[in-house]
């Protein structure tokens, strides 16, 4: 357990380092545009860079960033001139506002569909979901927008990104849940229990669902990762003022501290969820909990 927590911390440190390194060695910086401006002298741009500490070599800047991040200070946005924490806190709320409902809705929808299809041994939904699962966000959201216009629904508000994200989560979860439930249904011990006359509800709650749980619990983390990745694109497409548009803007502008903070916060959320999933797995599976 202690080792597992240590691994999480190391993982986060590694992610922050890699993100910082890659973004630092990428060509250009926040002042690239100013450098091209005929009205500005190169010297004054250099002075600005020095004032923000950007002329230091990247390893030193990384150490400085780590020190302040550990104190809870994620630096200041170059573009907005406000502390990063104050800039992204409302954005995180907005993103959570669409992420949480679509994850909950997506899981509930996908799982019920999968259970229904597995019970009827229906294989019709599987290819449909495969195609949906392979489609990029852009296509799904465009379809959604097209449908919304056709139905005369309002093109603003939270429903559009939520619907888009749900459409991303459902196929992912459905395909895993369907295969897990079908496998569990055909497991030897389930067939034997059925032949012994265990009633159908008991069969599902006591035999099939526990047997199908492991891969689904492990899917919690990856499903959040997929949803977060897609939310960046979907928010930008639907004009939802979450982390997505800010992040894209910050990457383009080379607003170092903002990018770094977003990457680390998202990574921390994912690491935490994966850890929670592992603990849950430990809790529900006697084969992991009670080693012989």
């Amino acid at each position: 357990m202690i080792r597992r927590l240590g691994a999480c911390v190391l993982q986060l440190a590694a992610i922050s380092f890699i993100a910082f390194y890659l973004f630092s060695v990428a060509p250009g910086d926040f002042y690239s545009a100013e450098r091209l401006s005929p009205q500005l002298e190169g010297r004054s741009v250099d002075q600005w860079r020095a004032a923000k500490g950007l002329d230091e070599p990247w390893p030193e800047r990384y150490v400085l960033w780590c020190e302040s991040a550990l104190r809870g200070d994620f630096g200041t946005s170059l573009a907005y001139g406000v502390p990063v924490a104050r800039l992204i806190a409302p954005r995180i709320l907005k993103t959570a506002l669409v992420l949480m409902p679509s994850l909950a809705l997506g899981w509930a929808l996908a799982f019920s569909l999968a259970a229904w299809a597995a019970r009827r041994r229906d294989r019709i939904l599987e290819p449909v979901m495969s195609v949906a699962g392979m489609s990029p966000e852009v296509i799904l959201v465009s379809l959604l927008l097209w449908l919304a216009v056709w139905a005369g629904a309002p093109l603003a508000g939270a429903w559009l990104p939520i619907a888009g994200l749900t459409a991303i989560v459902v196929p992912l979860v459905f395909l895993h849940a369907f295969s897990a439930l079908t496998t569990a249904r055909e497991a030897n011990f389930v067939r034997i229990a059925r032949s012994r006359g265990v009633p159908r509800t008991r069969l599902w709650t006591r035999f099939i669902l526990p047997a199908a749980a492991n891969p689904l619990v492990s899917l919690l983390g990856p499903s959040l990762a997929t949803a977060v990745g897609s939310s960046l694109v979907i928010e930008a497409m639907t004009g939802w003022p979450g982390l997505g548009p800010l992040f894209l803007e910050a990457v383009q502008a080379r607003d170092y501290d903002v990018v770094q903070a977003v990457v680390v916060i998202l990574a921390a959320a994912l690491t935490f969820l994966n850890l929670a999933a592992d603990l849950l797995l430990y809790r529900i599976d006697p084969r992991i909990r009670l080693r012989v």
Partner: protein, 418 residues
Amino acid sequence: MIGGTLVFLNTWSVYYGAHRAFGPLDLRIGAGGKIGIAGASGSGKSTLLASICGLLDPAARTSGAIEITGRIGYIPQESLNSLSPHLTALDQVAEIAGSRERASQLLASIGITTDRQNFYPHQLSGGERQRVLVQQALAANPDVLVADEPTANLDEANEALVLGLLETHQAALIVASHRETVFDRLQCRVLRLTPRVDARLASPPPIPEAAHVTARVDALTKTYAHRDFFLRQRQGPHILDGVSLVIRAGETVALSGPSGAGKSTLARCLARRERWDSGQIDTGNRPAQLVQQEPSESLNPRWTLAACLREAAPQADADVLERIGLSAKWFERSVSELSEGQRSRVAIARAVLAAGDGLLILDESLASLDASTVRDVAAFVQDAQQSSGMACLLITHRLDLAAGLAHRALSMEQGRLR
């Protein structure tokens, strides 16, 4: 339907693809009837029973007529996936019996104590799982009990317990087994899917006078240590307590003893699969070849027989298959096309080839095999012993095997040889 008939089969057969698993077969069993199903491995015993219980593989094809009236209680051949890994022994039975109290009584009556009732299947021994399966089937109050090798993994005391249970239950009985003694004990009418074979074992070949020592074990000691909550090292009980043993070339030594005596641990140490605390093992320049219980599972189901055998001995040819009672034409078939018993033959043959002039360990590998398979495999092992001087350590709880195959028998208790 004829009055009182519970199971009625008329020219009933089951096919896997073009291959006929068994049949055509006629069978009628009424209340109180007892039928034993005998046959060599691969003769379709398990398939027949599964088809009666409606648990046939969906890929299988059937012909003929089947009529089942009354409730069937199926006792599958023991394996880990016959029981749900998520329920304790008590819950497994309670789901069928209706109440935990009744389930607890049922389990206690076959020697599974209250503390072990709360164990999960993976924490129980094979014999205990088998007993849970039996009580699970009986808890449903079946009219017909269908049992597939119900005693294959049990020692003698538990075998008597389970057979007694089957004998006194009022349900009609269909039982498949490779042991004729089971049918005698239950007073079954025996239905043979393949003719009865002469299963007498050849006596072991003599050991040459000047045989060298193949394996020497000196004062071997092992304890299972574990770390407690504060990560302090704690010593467990002695699994091996000063074991010394010499096995000479061409010799077969039988080892028996109650479960938990350390037999399998000794075997794993000899095969270098486990570390030991003190003492020495000398098996020359090669580790022993170890075949464990359920030898069939040691083969990769996607490989061909040729690949499996040539991995052990590059010069192996189809002739090996003939010598273990399989057709040489199967050399290029894949392992997944064989039955359990046929796979076991191949797995043991592979270990013999790999052992060469070293040590072969059979750890209860013959326990669940039918008589003709045991005879063929034993003959193959004895051939190898004569031609290359291979030594063999035979761990078994079956006294007939120990007496028939070994030059001398040892017994082990609480980590000590006697």
